[in-house]
């Protein structure tokens, strides 16, 4: 009897393992094929060299990494470092701007219902149903010394000459990216704010808390998981953005994706591009590690 039981248990366990393999196998295979293997290839190429016939020569050379960080004037005096730091600043500014703009809208959405909720959501999201490149061209018309914004301002008695903030450059890129990534922040925050028990807010009011105190001590702490997730969803794609600076920076500066693309296409420097891309992954991994430590899957929406 005991032998039969043991055999039964063994078969059951084997069956469960087979089921698990069947269920998880395609997913694991997908991850291996499309994420881990390409990343491993990227790492390998970052240590390789390109010969005069433009072939990849497999080697273990750190020269590509040195090229990223050691310039003609010394350590960290390279275009890569400059563009990387600038990209981090632009991404951070974009993230901050989306938080400031999306928080009140997301909160308002949670307070509305029915027709008014749908109308506001539609009004906020409808610009994002247009093709991205079309929106970029719209921004192109709006910015510049003779752009629509500056022309309108100069036509008023309050502004004498075109304002620098509406010229092409960093400000134009940040404004355009904020517009592009606004829905990511809005929907993530909305998902998080919607889960708040508003009885807590009413109780705070009853106890004499001001609006600012309620926002600071109740709303923000209770929606912080959504806030962190939203920040990651905005910061990561903004860091690797390519098209927006191509149009709105007017070549006055280069973001990191532009530097790597130019090296790969113009010089066929796949090794330099691979090494640089790995450093682009670092802040992304840090951001995701923060999310994983602070946020549950439910809070991510």
């Amino acid at each position: 009897m005991k032998t039969i039981d043991r055999l039964g248990d063994a078969f059951e366990k084997q069956g469960q393992r087979a089921k698990l393999t069947l269920m998880a196998g395609p997913g694991v295979g997908w991850l291996l094929t499309l994420i881990l293997l390409p990343t491993a290839f990227l790492v390998a190429v970052s240590f390789a060299e390109i010969n005069s016939s433009y072939d990849v020569v497999w080697s273990v050379s750190v020269s590509n990494y040195q090229e990223l960080f050691i310039g003609q004037d010394g350590w960290f005096q390279t275009p890569f470092v400059d563009s990387f730091l600038l990209s981090l600043r632009i991404s951070a500014a974009t993230t901050l701007a989306t938080v400031v703009l999306a928080y009140p809208v997301a909160y308002l959405l949670t307070r509305l219902s029915g027709r008014r909720f749908k109308l506001l959501l539609f009004a906020v999201l409808v610009p994002f149903f247009t093709i991205f490149i079309v929106r970029i061209y719209s921004w192109l018309s709006l910015f510049g010394s003779q752009g629509l914004i500056n022309s309108a301002l100069v036509a008023t008695p309050f502004v004498a000459e075109p304002l620098g903030i509406f010229e092409y450059g960093v400000a134009a890129v940040v404004i355009s990216l904020t517009h592009a990534f606004f829905p990511y922040m809005l929907l993530t925050l909305y998902s998080s704010l919607e889960g708040i028990d508003y009885g807590v807010i009413e109780a705070s009011r009853d106890l004499g808390a001001s609006r600012l105190e309620i926002a600071k001590d109740v709303v923000v702490p209770l929606s912080v998981q959504g806030l962190i997730t939203g920040c990651v969803f905005v910061f990561v794609p903004a860091l690797g953005t390519f098209i927006t600076p191509q149009f709105l920076a007017r070549g006055q500066f280069t973001m990191i994706a532009e530097v790597l693309t130019a090296r790969i296409t113009e010089l066929y420097a796949l090794n330099y591009g691979a090494a640089g891309s790995l450093f682009l992954i670092v802040p992304t991994l840090i951001a995701f590690a923060i999310v994983m430590r602070t946020t549950s899957l439910e809070a991510m929406g």
């Binding site: 072939d55 061209y137 007017r250 113009e266 010089l267 420097a269």
Partner: protein, 370 residues
């Protein structure tokens, strides 16, 4: 039970056989439709506009079908072909300065001059260029197809047409009494902008030889010039749509870019003209290469021969707003914007590979981030 099972098995085998036969017949039918029956499909990686003359080429050759893919620039063409081992495309048509790179990477096949009978109709300048820049070990590996040059366009309502045409305009805050501050664009590409700055600074000696080679002092001087002048620029721009919008909005007064880009702008915006600087113009020409890995080389060279044909070459030029390297093709073109002054080719400097490619691109990145 056994009989039934046996019958079932026979039926299944029959079904598989029938389905297999139907599949083979279907595939044959589909491939017949796709390939147009017998004949050769020549795949081409090139610029926009070439596909507009597909019908004419196919009609002339009869047994050849063209499959044209568009690439965003010569660098992309090289990366794509090199990554694929050179077997995916029969023809690739980068700018001339990239052809030596294809030769170095063993991606180009020697031109079969017996097939390319229209080679003799090329302007002598381009025949010489092919036999020089595109040659290696006694063989020629590329065919000049179309050409143009870089200079500056300008808004004639701000800068009069009778101003002294010179590259100095690109590096002046004020030129002949016109304030150009913030109204100048340079080309958004290290190669063209650095060469333009080099020419403006008078470093013509760097353009002699097979490559463009500035001395370290010259490169430093070019970098300083570009950085010093950067605050006066609207920016670095290269695409026609953006420049068109800039001219329409009155953002730009002078723009350094391709002639064909400006011809496109002139079609949409009044008061834009293209200059003819007193210094030499930097000329590019598209160098068509049949890939070493092509299994349709003979058909590919026949196709290239048609791009140099007087009628098809002229049609290609008119659809792309770009001049043809074949004198016979140019003689049949009537479009005013495609006419060239007699002798204009003699004063041109052809694009050549940069000797210090990596140093140039790094310098341009420093300029942009300055």
């Amino acid at each position: 039970m056994t009989k039934s099972l046996g019958t079932h098995m026979v039926d299944r085998r029959q079904f598989i056989k029938t389905a297999g036969a139907a599949g083979v017949a279907g595939m044959a039918g589909v491939s017949g439709c796709m390939g147009g029956g017998s004949g050769t499909t020549v795949s081409i990686l090139t610029w926009t506009g070439y596909d507009d003359v597909n019908d004419q080429v196919e009609e002339t050759l009869g047994d050849v079908t063209l499959d044209v893919s568009i690439a965003d620039g010569s660098a992309n063409m090289f990366s794509t072909v090199n990554a694929g081992g050179g077997e995916e495309y029969d023809i690739v048509i980068p700018n001339n300065e990239y052809v030596p790179r294809f030769i170095e990477a063993d991606l180009a096949a020697p031109v079969d001059m017996d097939v390319v009978s229209n080679f003799d109709t090329l302007y002598p300048t381009f025949q010489s260029a092919a036999e020089g820049q595109f040659a290696d070990g006694g063989d020629v590996y590329g065919l000049p197809v179309q050409f143009g040059w870089y200079a500056y366009g300008y808004d004639t309502s701000v800068l009069p047409e009778d101003h002294e045409h010179s590259y100095d305009v690109l590096f002046s805050e004020e030129y002949e009494g016109v304030d150009l501050t913030g109204g100048i664009t340079l080309y958004d590409g290290y190669y063209k902008s650095i060469m333009a700055a080099g020419l403006a600074l008078g470093y013509t000696d760097a353009f002699e030889g097979d490559t463009v080679s500035f001395t370290d002092e010259q490169l430093t001087s070019i970098e300083e010039t570009l950085i010093d002048f950067k605050p006066n620029l609207l920016g670095f721009v290269h695409d026609e749509e953006t420049l068109t919008q800039d001219y329409q909005n009155g953002n730009v007064v002078v723009s350094y870019a391709n002639r064909s880009t400006h011809v496109g702008i002139m079609n949409d915006v009044e008061n834009v003209a293209f200059s003819q600087p007193a210094e030499e113009e930097l000329t590019w020409f598209e160098g068509a290469v049949v890939t070493a890995g092509s299994s349709n080389k003979e058909a590919a060279f026949r196709v290239l021969n048609e791009y140099l044909d007087p009628e098809i070459g002229a049609a290609l030029s008119e659809t792309r707003n770009i001049m043809n390297t074949s004198q016979a093709a140019m003689d049949t073109i009537e479009t005013p914007s495609l006419q060239i002054e007699p002798g204009v080719l003699e004063g041109m400097i052809p694009f050549k590979p940069a000797e210090q490619d990596a140093a140039w691109i790094e310098m341009f990145e420093r300029v942009k981030n300055a």
